[in-house]
């Protein structure tokens, strides 16, 4: 009798809509540049908000988890839990644990393994991997990095869409890249030094994973290699290819190399192993085997086997596939990108800085602020945003049920592009959004082009960081985003 599979039961990816064209860096600075693009988190996004979006994509409407683990190398908060914010925004039950894996880009695989272990032990756990990759203007990191998030729910049983059948790991201490907390970019040792170390470690990890899975390279259908050391990543993918070809029936195409998205999105650090697995699962047929290798201060290799449940999961999900998101980008000009990243400080509007959200009201209203849960009157059915106690229609008091609105769509009733309001990305668009399920929300519109927005446009809700106060409090809340994301990659922001 076969033991029930343990592995991924749901997954989702979030890629920001914005793309920085690498040639624009070269044009602006006379250096750097290159071909292709990288993804860029907007000024209202960070690793936490992107993690929420990926988590929503994975969990869908009725998602269940006993725990979440949130991994990032670019944490929005230290000391304070970022996982707790993801937990609140996903509307999870209070009994669901939420832990951070913060600091190193290797935390991504760490979170996957921890979630898999918990899932195997009967506690379905969501691993949320998210990163905003920065770099000094004109640096290789700026050019080759990318921003994004992935979320993988691990559990056991018939829901498993990709069984985790092997894991190998090789750890070693050496100085490859480093960043003192608070700095906005990493420093790198001379590239060739770490390359040799990575190739050796990665081989050990892959050998371990294959052995655990009872497979050889010739049995592997899809391979993805990720990591921030781009030279080692390329070299190792090539060496795997050689090894597989030696034993494969088709030496010309020993396995399918999963696009590591370096031409379009860039290397997404902590998030990359999750994004690569999702990319593979978006295409894989049942029984295909997938090898994910990640190089980061050591190496990890994971072997998955797609199950018969995978096609049905893909058909039923409402979230966009990786390739749909990759092709749905819009160009942000380099100056605006630098402003978002804080590398180009511009004159602030002649308005007071936004004041900080206070802790007690934020906590009292957490279901609203983070979970976007409205109140619906039990007596007359009227829905209120924000949630209130006295019905505006029938005036009943305390006859309210909480109701999450985050996953519903709305339409724009009226809007204004505000050029005076405080924002790093003017204009700030404010709109009244009406929901088919009842109620209206006044909120910001993001990822939108003010000149083409219209009354009646359909929007969906997205969790964002509205601003960060002078004393470092991030103000998170929900914004509306046009549903038909632009596909014209050449369109200027």
């Amino acid at each position: 009798m076969r033991t029930p599979p343990i592995g991924v039961t749901a997954y989702g990816v979030y890629l920001p809509i914005w793309r920085l064209q690498r040639k624009d860096i070269g044009a602006a600075l006379g250096s750097g540049g290159g071909h292709g693009s990288r993804s860029a988190a907007a000024d209202d996004e960070d690793s936490t908000s992107m993690g929420v979006e990926a988590g929503r994509a994975a969990l869908g409407r009725a998602g269940r988890a006993s725990g979440i683990v949130f991994a990032t190398a670019t944490a929005a908060y230290a000391d304070k839990s970022n996982a707790a914010i993801v937990h609140a925004a996903l509307g999870l039950d209070r009994s669901v644990s939420a832990y951070d894996f913060v600091g190193a880009s290797r935390s991504g695989v760490g979170a996957i393994v921890a979630a898999a272990d918990a899932g195997a032990a009967g506690r379905p756990t969501l691993a949320v991997l998210s990163d905003v990759r920065t770099g000094m203007p004109s640096s290789a990191d700026e050019r080759e990095g990318g921003d994004g998030a992935a979320a993988l729910l691990f559990g056991t049983g018939d829901d498993v869409v990709a069984a985790l059948i092997g894991h190998g790991s090789a750890s070693a201490e050496f100085l490859d890249r480093w960043r003192i907390p608070g700095e906005s970019s990493s420093k790198l040792w001379e590239e060739r030094f770490a390359e040799g170390a990575y190739l050796e470690l990665a081989k050990e990890a892959v050998d371990g994973a294959l052995k655990a899975a009872g497979l050889t390279m010739a049995d592997i259908d899809r391979v993805a290699v990720g990591g921030l050391h781009r030279r080692a990543v390329k070299a190792f993918a090539k060496s795997l290819s050689r090894e597989a070809a030696a034993h494969s029936v088709d030496p010309q195409a020993p396995f399918l190399l999963v696009d590591d998205l370096s031409d379009t999105i860039g290397a997404t650090g902590t998030a990359q192993p999750g994004i690569l697995l999702a990319t593979a699962l978006d295409e894989a047929a049942p029984e295909e085997t997938i090898l994910i290798v990640n190089l980061a201060d050591g190496a990890d290799a994971l072997v998955f086997e797609a199950t018969a449940s995978l096609p049905a999961f893909r058909e039923n999900r409402t979230a966009k596939s990786v390739s749909e998101q990759v092709t749905g980008g819009r160009t942000v000009d380099y100056q605006r990108y630098l402003t978002w990243r804080g590398y180009l400080r511009r004159e602030a509007p002649r308005r007071p800085d936004p004041d900080r959200p206070a802790a007690p009201p934020s906590a009292r209203n957490a279901d609203w602020k983070f979970g976007l849960a409205a109140s619906r009157c039990r007596s007359c059915g009227t829905r209120h945003m924000p949630a209130i106690r006295v019905c505006r229609h029938c005036h009943s008091v305390d006859q309210m049920d909480r109701e999450r609105v985050a996953d519903e769509r709305g339409t724009i009733a009226t809007y204004q592009a505000d050029l005076l309001a405080y924002t790093l990305s003017p204009p700030l668009i404010g709109a009244a959004v009406n929901f088919a399920g009842g109620g209206r929300l006044m909120c910001e519109v993001t990822d939108a082009d003010a000149s083409t927005l219209k009354i009646g446009d359909e929007v969906e809700m997205t969790f964002r960081r509205l601003y960060t106060t002078g004393d470092g409090v991030h103000n998170y809340f929900w914004k509306a985003r046009p549903v038909g994301r632009a596909t014209d990659a050449d369109k200027e922001a």
């Binding site: 592009a417 505000d418 109620g439 006044m442 998170y476 809340f477």
Partner: protein, 401 residues
Amino acid sequence: MATHGIRDKVAIVGMGCTPFGEHWSKSAEDLLVDANTEALASAGLAQADIDAYWLGTMGSGYSGQLLSRTLKLDYKPVTRVENFCATGSEAFRNACYAVASGAVDVAMAIGVEKLKDSGYSGLVSTPPPHDGTAVAITTPAAFGLLAPAYAKMAGLDDDTLKEVITRIAWKNHYNGARNPRAQFRKELSMEAIRNSPKVSGMLGVLDCSGVSDGSAAAIIVRAEDAYQYTDKPIFVKALSMVAGPGDGPMDPTFDYTSIREVVKCADAAYAEAGVRNPREEIAMAEVHDCFTPTELVLMEDLGFSEKGEAWRDVMDGAFDLDGALPVNPDGGLKSFGHPIGASGLRMLFECWLQLRQQAPPERQVQSIVTGERKLGLTHNLGGRPGDCVSFISVVGAEPAS
């Protein structure tokens, strides 16, 4: 339970109003002294003759002591009131009720705001601690929401609506150019208004009222005592105030083409004053033209125009100085700027001048001179469309008949 008005029970016997503008050399206290001194002089009263004070200010000071400390009052009651941009009107309303109740013989309503000292453009306020989820659009954008919604309702294209609101600004600046107390005293060309730098949506800088400092005051007595103080008192015909439930931002049926609070407030005011047809009975109106689309929508909400027709009346000049119903003959918020605590009383000051026929001839309302019409109206709005307070007063030069 019902509300009872105080029609013809109280009268205004003295008023003062400082010039509004950039008073770099004056503090809020200085402005209060100036408005108080002028008001007392106009009624022939001394400070000791005032029994109680209502002070309107949003952020230029706290408690009644801003006034008592400044004027060195001799242990008199001073109530500080605040109701957003209707703060000055609220001070007036409460002072009137105190006198009507018989509790005091002579009351002063005085309002002040010092906005220029902040160094910011637009209004600045410090909200209480909050959860950070309210949409952060500025006031011009909040009122700008009226523009696309009105255009859709009235079947206008954006260019036509832009012409309409441009004409409103043009008219108010034309009037303000004839007012020595106004901050902006230059006529502006339609072109300059139309092409002013964009602030929000189709609104340019010149679609917005300015930021200024100022103070204004009114002295209120019982109607029957009024002629002891002046031979031209102004009688209060109606005071109406509505605080809305803030439905607009959460009610999908609210369409941003009308301000419900104003409609309710106007109904109550006209009932109290006995006005049946405001378009034909009101001689002049000072309305809350914080932004040009606001004045447009107000013309319908105040019953001066039919629904969807105000834009036509504006273009026909119905609300011009020489039109059927002059609106903002003093230049309005557009020419004066908007020191919150003072604006409502500044509006009343123009009624005071006009109904006593003391406005300069170049802006005196003709229907008052001919005796054809006898009522002035002030409309003061605080908050944002869909979520606001509204105040209306109707005043007249004649006592109860």
